[in-house]
Symmetry: C2
Subunit: 331 residues, 2 copies
């Protein structure tokens, strides 16, 4: 295992130490070592919280910042943060206007957030949730409640964080974040597996010269294993799943986010984006804004995710709003 | 080869197409398809140009932007841009105040920049150069002219771009950029090789459970191959080369930049940074500012580089200046 580690069991704590040292202009520690918060939290807005397992850099702590998330609960690698971590994140973010917890649909996160919301209620902190389920490959459309949250969460945080920064009420923030994720579909394609540092070898396999369509960020099985295609073919396959699922049609305006899974060279993501954009444009759908880079990764997996969000006037305004975090800075 | 490609020979052109579509708020095309420039170039400052081979994302085109580079010449993967591309970048950046060409010490780049500078002179464009040679492992200190430029180039561009934005003369920009690189030392450690898309297999080898200290961004041989160490050991090895080379001493203030080589998970870079910072602090050297992430990569190599720059009042001011590019955004 060719990795830069000390004791693999300490990687999350050590990573957090480094992260806080480097980004002291953006994030601050809290009394809970597994909760980070904004260093410059304004005192008068709805708190925006997320959380999740580690190994998905810049998610989740990389989205703490201006007009994004106020506090984030940090879990072990590919493991939900504890209920206490979520609770402490709610406490850190609450300014008396309530907290919007915007997180991804995984069983551990669901359970721990639910417990934390109850505990917060006893302290008089109102927390409402939006559960991201943008991964179109993870369950059929009529079982959308079973779908996982993936890179679409970035757009959900952007929408929710921007709405909160506008001085919106908790209900308004929740409605905007829910709309953001309801309007969003994602698909991942895996080209190589990843290795959990504490395990030392990949816990799933992707055979050379094949790719796994619909793979999850923790190696959850996809919907099809097929021969590795060219960028053009991969783009057709991804858009062929994402666009009809919403469904998107001529005249729609969208945000497109192409994220690497970690080890795929970023130049290849631009090649893929170019192919995706050609397909989308040909359908009469207009790309209003796009993001390409490592926005939501899985350690050193190779592959990419495509996320498409349908815009309306409100979402455009929220996507256009400046933000400043480690993972996303926008003027 | 598990990569997202069409015809490998087209990867640079296709990448550029995608890049320009995504970042149309920052970069613009020129008449030369291998030259990109700032979309919002101010009309009254010294032009700042760089260029280099592709495969080092976000270098080099990712550093086009406000208070950074004005135009960049793009080469094939791991290959210098042509003299004509450098010349066209000079033309794109020149506003009558001259052009500072800040690039890395590689034979192809040296030759093509030299030719382009001569051609520019004939057109009345004054171009002066700074050649980055921050890689402390690439030649002994008394042969610093043979050393390669690596991630320290990012700090050189930052210094030069900020100086130009302050309205400095060409001479002042050159002096500041030269000081930036003279004050900077880097070292790379490679954990896995990378594969050029057109070749299809790695053209050098790093055996499992070993690491190559001092490896270059194109697989240039390092100074030592040794068993893979823990993050702490790697940090000691890197600082043990970089700090004495300048040499840095108690009381000095520095910028520290830790860049991944591409495929190393970013969380590991923070673990490494934490170890590096502990060593530096223990020596009484103070980290004024730090950058951790994928700033200068080599396709899907695993490993990291450490770059340390000694600061003075002027360099602090230049490092503090806001900038806005794909690879570096700073408020």
């Amino acid at each position: 295992m060719q990795r830069i580690l000390n004791n693999p069991d300490d990687i999350v704590d050590e990573m957090l130490k480094g992260f806080v040292k480097v980004h002291r202009d953006i994030v601050a520690v809290t009394d809970n070592p597994r909760v980070l918060k904004r260093v410059d939290m304004p005192a008068d807005h709805v708190g925006v919280v997320t959380g999740g397992g580690s190994g998905h850099k810049p998610a989740f702590i990389g989205y703490i910042g201006k007009n994004l998330c106020d506090a984030v609960a940090v879990g072990e690698i590919c493991t939900s943060p504890s209920a206490i971590a979520f609770l402490d994140a709610f406490r850190a973010a609450d300014q008396g206007k309530g907290v919007a917890c915007l997180y991804g649909n995984y069983s551990g996160d669901n359970m721990n957030v639910k417990m934390a919301v109850k505990m917060a209620a006893k302290e008089g902190i109102e927390v409402r949730t939006v559960v991201a389920n943008d991964d179109a490959a993870s369950a059929p459309k009529d079982q959308a409640g079973k779908r996982r949250g993936v890179a679409g969460e970035v757009l959900m945080w952007k929408a929710g964080g921007a709405k909160a920064a506008q001085g919106a009420s908790l209900n308004e923030v929740i409605v905007a974040a829910q709309k953001a994720i309801d309007n969003t579909r994602s698909i991942g394609i895996g080209l190589t597996p990843c290795t959990l540092p504490a395990v030392g070898h990949p816990n799933f396999e992707i055979k050379p010269e094949t790719m796994e369509v619909g793979i999850g960020h923790h190696g959850e099985p996809g919907i099809e294993i097929c021969p590795l295609e060219k960028a053009e073919g991969i783009a057709h396959r991804m858009t062929g799943i994402v666009l009809p699922d919403y469904p998107l049609a001529a005249g729609d305006e969208v945000v497109v986010l192409v994220s690497g899974l970690g080890a795929t060279p970023v130049m290849e993501l631009y090649v893929l984006y170019d192919e995706i954009e050609k397909i989308i444009s040909k359908k009469g759908i207009s790309v209003y804004r796009s993001y390409v880079g490592n926005y939501f990764t899985s350690l050193e997996m190779m592959g990419a995710t495509l996320t498409v969000m349908k815009l309306d006037g409100e979402l455009k305004e929220l996507m256009d709003m400046p933000c400043y975090s480690v993972g996303l800075k926008q003027a």
